[in-house]
Amino acid sequence: MNISFRTDAKFCSYLSCSKIFIAILVAVLLSLPNLVSAQDSTAAAGGAAAAPAGGGDAAKGEALFKNNCAQCHSPTDERVVGPGLKGASSRHDFAWLTKWVRNSQAVIASGDPYAVKIYNEYSKAQMTSFPNLSDDDIKGIFAYIDKASTAAPAAAAPAGGGGAAASGDSKGEGPSDLFMIVLVALVVVMLLVLGVLVVIVTLLSKAVSGETTDAAKPDFMTSLGNSLKRISADPAIRSATMWIFVLLVLKATLDGAYSVGVQQGYAPKQPISFSHKLHAGEYKIDCNYCHTGVNRGKSAHIPSANICMNCHGVIKKESPEIQKIYTSIENNQPIEWVRVHNLPDLAYFNHAQHVNVGGLECQNCHGEVEKMEVIQQRSSLTMGWCIDCHRKTEVNTKDNKYYDKLVQLHAGESKEALKVADIGGLECSKCHY
């Protein structure tokens, strides 16, 4: 690899005789001069001599790498967006690397076979050009890469060991909980067995000792039966019990009747098992990113597939749930999400008014969506629920001239702060028309 690329590069023009060139090249590789910027030496020396004379400053290189390169490249051979850079400095000479870093498109356009190959291999993703990096900067970056790529396995080993030890510890803790539960269960079972044994033993001892104790027992039982009969025969007590029972059932029935049309707790299964817990909770994606209509109009919007594709065009493509989105896009078939929050047609509601003007958080009405695996209707969405909030919520009148006169008028009549109810929040025609 080394040699073929060296001969491909412009060195041919300087050195016409290829034999001499190869000989020199071998000498170069053996003597590790400044030209190859000492990366091979660091690789050979295991990172001990990170920045020898002529090589880059690895410390400075590290800062540059983290700032400019780390987003797409790893100093190991791990593929991130672009290829892993481990050993890049031994694959290419410094002049080639410099040209590539400063303007990779020019190298590709010049027809360099390796450049074209890697460009095609990474699905023609253009690397950002860095024309401002000086030779020293680039040397430093590659010095850092060599240092990091050789240091990484050494650093990883103890970390892995530590991880194993830690997981061992946690394993030691994990079963202990289970062990405690099993232990408690065993104790309970043993107590039950003991109880049964005691009963058997007493029964047996009674049977053995004769029927002396039996005489008292029927007495007690019959007296109990008699008293119960007396109580149940009393018509007053009888009807009282019945009425209490009937009233309780009536209350339950009324409650049930009031829940007609209330869908609180509704959590239907969706065609794609999208998790708000993951997206909004773990990755902290703002609600507005997908529900773009929430501060613009009546509906918060169910995101269309192109918004999913903003991320999933690139990541998690292999997941079967995300494959469903691809299928729907390919077939031009809409995804039939099941609507969870259904307000009856007889009531008008506008998201923008509540989010923009009212300054409400989504969670006020929708609950802790960022913790829901499956979306669920948390609020009742009944009229009483709306009105209750309109009665309690104070209007934010601060720095808003629109409210100045209203606040003045209101202050004359009442000592309480201006509530939504005071500015027409209870008018029938606000929502029903």
């Binding site: 009937v246 994606i285 703002d286 507005n288 919007h301 009856p344």
Partner: protein, 202 residues
């Protein structure tokens, strides 16, 4: 006698009502509705459809606008407020593959002031922060997973001009996908202001 039979009827009624009302609620069942014809919309509503539409493809009520048409309310050509408002049509007329044209031609029509930058920050936090990070270093929570999110303040990015940033938000670039459908041009210009602040390493 009468009292006794009343009691009996009550008990029977109670038992029937108990069995009816004690049905356990299934989370995927929205429950009963009283007079559903007052609940379901008569007219066509977005995101609410009970029956398949017999005319439209795939039974949908919602349809895409005719190709090439622009909804007027989404076609805002005047940017900024009152006195400082500017008319700009170029934002709609540069094709996706012409980022160099955007760099040369597009100028931010919004006034330079704190308010615009502050509004830009709000929008940035909504639409960009989870990838690009709070300081634009590419260290957002999604960015860490997504990979390849650049640092605005790095040498290759800190000098990109406003036309370039606007174009990238609209049409995407490299691994970033287009966000023009989510963010309207005025909002994009506000975000551009804030991104320019982050480019300086704010």
């Amino acid at each position: 006698m009468k009292f006794k039979s009343l009691n009996r009827y009550l008990i029977v009624a109670a038992i029937i009502l108990t069995t009816v009302s004690s049905c356990k609620k299934d989370p995927s069942n929205p429950g009963k509705e009283y007079a559903p014809n007052m609940y379901l919309p008569v007219g066509y509503e977005p995101y609410k459809q009970e029956k398949a539409n017999p005319i439209n493809p795939m039974g949908l009520t919602m349809r895409l606008p005719v190709a090439g048409t622009v909804a007027r309310r989404n076609y805002k050509t005047s940017f900024g407020e009152s006195d400082s408002a500017q008319v700009d049509l170029m934002v709609y007329n540069i094709p996706a593959d012409s980022i160099s044209v955007s760099e040369r031609v597009l100028k931010n029509p919004l006034p330079v002031n704190e308010q615009v930058t502050a509004e830009g920050k709000v929008l940035y936090d909504r639409y960009c922060e989870h990838c690009h990070g709070a300081t634009g270093a590419g260290d957002g929570k999604v960015g860490a997973m997504y990979k390849g999110v650049p640092n605005y303040a790095s040498d290759a990015y800190k000098n990109l001009n406003e036309g370039h940033i606007f174009h990238v938000i609209t049409y995407g670039k490299a691994r970033m996908w287009p966000h023009g459908s989510q963010i309207n041009p005025e909002e994009r210009w506000k975000i551009v202001r804030y991104v320019q602040k982050l480019q300086k390493g704010a």
